[in-house]
Subunit: 188 residues, 2 copies
Amino acid sequence: MTQVRPMRADARRNYERLLKAAAEAFAEHGENASLDDIAKRAGVGSGTLYRHFPTRQALLEAAYVDRIEALGLRADEIARELPPGEALIEWLYEVCVGTIEVRGLKTLLGSAVTDGSSAAVTACGTFMKDAAGRLVGAAQKEGTLRPDLEPVDVLRLAHGISTASELADGRGAHIRRYLLLLTEGLRP
Amino acid sequence: MTQVRPMRADARRNYERLLKAAAEAFAEHGENASLDDIAKRAGVGSGTLYRHFPTRQALLEAAYVDRIEALGLRADEIARELPPGEALIEWLYEVCVGTIEVRGLKTLLGSAVTDGSSAAVTACGTFMKDAAGRLVGAAQKEGTLRPDLEPVDVLRLAHGISTASELADGRGAHIRRYLLLLTEGLRP
DNA sequence: ACCTGAACACCGTTCAAGT
DNA sequence: ACCTGAACACCGTTCAAGT
């Protein structure tokens, strides 16, 4: 994850400026914010952006890797506060809220749990699958979760719930409702 | 739905050429196919495309309105073949398959069930909600579906299942599995 | 009434020249 | 080693001129 060789001082400075500018731009204009605009905000040439982040995905991941890590930590925090089954649901709720609130985070998480996703997002994909795996394992041990569920399935379904909730107003109440429907099933 | 005043012969010809070219281009390059390319394929000026279809959404809807209608008809066909609860699931499966196979159809159906969607897609939104409503109503009457479910909820959840399945390989087996998890719930 | 296509604005990407 | 920004290609959208 960390650099093999330390960056030159000006390179490191530009890298950080780009990250800050990218986070701002993504927040303002969504995940399709103009890369040229991001370079301008950061006060660097467009070529410099490409040097540091060869693809938009790479920039997206770098801009949100800390949010991913925060979500991973939340999994264990929640696990200490609630019984396994409830903990998983609560964590999925927070994942959904996060991916809806922070534009771009959803795309990143989506490609992270995509079958055959690129190596660039494998790192945060593994991180999320591990976090989900701990909650899934505990709930299955407790007997409140289907034993045939893989962590990646749960993450994909949460992504789907986010999408469905966004079609409604995307607010917490709808996320809770659709998550409940998923956990309890559509039968009466 | 139909034109108030008949189009001039050349206008009608261009309209149909544009629709054919759009369907081809969307099939080849996805929902973001170049509008300029579509105009070129159709052998018309780009201004003509904008005259007939002021927005990309409008073109998308026009190109796939027949597919939407086919899905609506399938709802009633399936209702004659299967008991209500199974019919709904089978129909949702076909909706998911269709939205994954035909790129652009998913976007269209998504915006059709979006809260506060534009008037342009209200027509096919109403059509789909009516079709879903008939299956939902029958299943609720039968007692195999939660009584608090609205047709639009079911359509949004199906959209979410499509998204989740696409993150896997997007093939039928995954759609069936994720639909089953939704209907039966995540509990053992 | 409708069509054409040039013109404009904007964006992504590359790369020669510079430090 | 890294940065700059001009240059190129491409796309969406508008609109004056044409039929």
